[in-house]
Assembly symmetry: C2
Homo-oligomer: 208 residues x 2
């Protein structure tokens, strides 16, 4: 398999979303220029991305079959094999994730939540049980989960991360705006809303 860059990987879910929207119409075939124009990208970029993930070649002037390309993307992104995940910290954002039904389409299956709040422990959100954070090790072991979605207060993020790694977690989707110190074999993907907001405000001030 050819190497894929982070930027390429980021674009693939956008292609998939666009192709799903076409799949509801009478359009059977799609070309790189069509996708590029719909998503505000360059045709060359789209062509390269599709070559990387697609099993078949497109026909000249006809483009590619929408359904086939959807299948290729879904398979490449692993959306057909579901990964189980737990939510660590069931505050507003953690609750939103547990309630959200759309992760299923992206191959992610949230199976449980963890918190320290006694009012939350033992209750369920969207049929997913909330456990005591102190039971982390045994339950993660029992569930065999590899992915944790981290939405705890930043003061405790490193301590909780250490416990997650000890319990067998291999990948952390980190929504806490702090740097997590982990060994090289642990995957961390940071979503820093504060940074994103800083960029938005800065751009807005420049055009004001």
């Amino acid at each position: 398999m050819e190497k894929i860059s982070k930027r390429q990987l980021e674009r693939l879910p956008l292609y998939l979303k666009y192709l799903y929207s076409l799949d509801d119409t009478s359009i059977d075939n799609v070309s790189a220029p069509m996708i590029a124009s719909a998503l505000g990208l360059s045709t060359e970029q789209v062509r390269k991305d599709i070559q990387l993930i697609s099993s078949s070649n497109g026909k000249p002037k006809q483009g590619r079959n929408v359904k086939e390309l959807i299948e290729d993307l879904v398979s490449f992104l692993g959306y057909n094999e579901h990964d189980d995940a737990v939510v660590i910290g069931v505050g507003h954002l953690g609750q939103a994730f547990m309630n959200y039904k759309g992760f299923d389409k992206f191959g992610l299956n949230i199976v449980a939540g963890f918190d320290v709040d006694s009012k939350l422990i033992g209750t369920s959100i969207n049929n997913k049980k909330i456990y005591d954070l102190y039971q982390l090790d045994s339950i993660i072991h029992e569930l065999g989960v590899k992915i944790a979605i981290l939405t705890v207060p930043s003061e405790v993020s490193q301590v909780v991360t250490n416990r997650l790694v000890n319990a067998g977690i291999k990948a952390i989707w980190n929504f806490v705006p702090t740097h997590l110190d982990v060994s090289e074999d642990i995957v961390v993907e940071n979503v820093n809303l504060a940074s994103s907001l800083a960029i938005l405000s800065h751009k807005l001030k420049k055009i004001d």
Copy 2:
């Protein structure tokens, strides 16, 4: 003012978070190597970033005063001047944003929400009223809001965006995983959770 890159801007909220954590301790001064080591960055990078945003020079061997550096960062990031914003689409994620009390620290003040669900319209979340999406133009005008947080279903994201721009919105914090077509004077900052998740899964599969 020197030009700041996107990557630099993304790092500033992380510095601030770290400095706030020091401010609760007895540590009065901080050096670039200290910050770099705490956040997993290079000292050279941190030094350049701080030079860009700081009004005073650090003293050799003493570093910089934590409180002063916090003030410089807060002022540079505009966190002392609050921008009003509205949430468009009060689903799980939109509700989480309306409930979240932490945006205040980042200079963002959510004043209202908009939705099409009659069960939500007229109710309040965290003392912020939810209005009918069809009243968008008049209420955004009345409130004088410039920033919209977009969390609507992707099928309607472009239509809603057009209405937001017509109503006077200048910046869109976009959580919908679709490309938004806007004129050049409108700022869009995309937070694509599907793309972020694709990167996490891909990295996890490589180490499996």
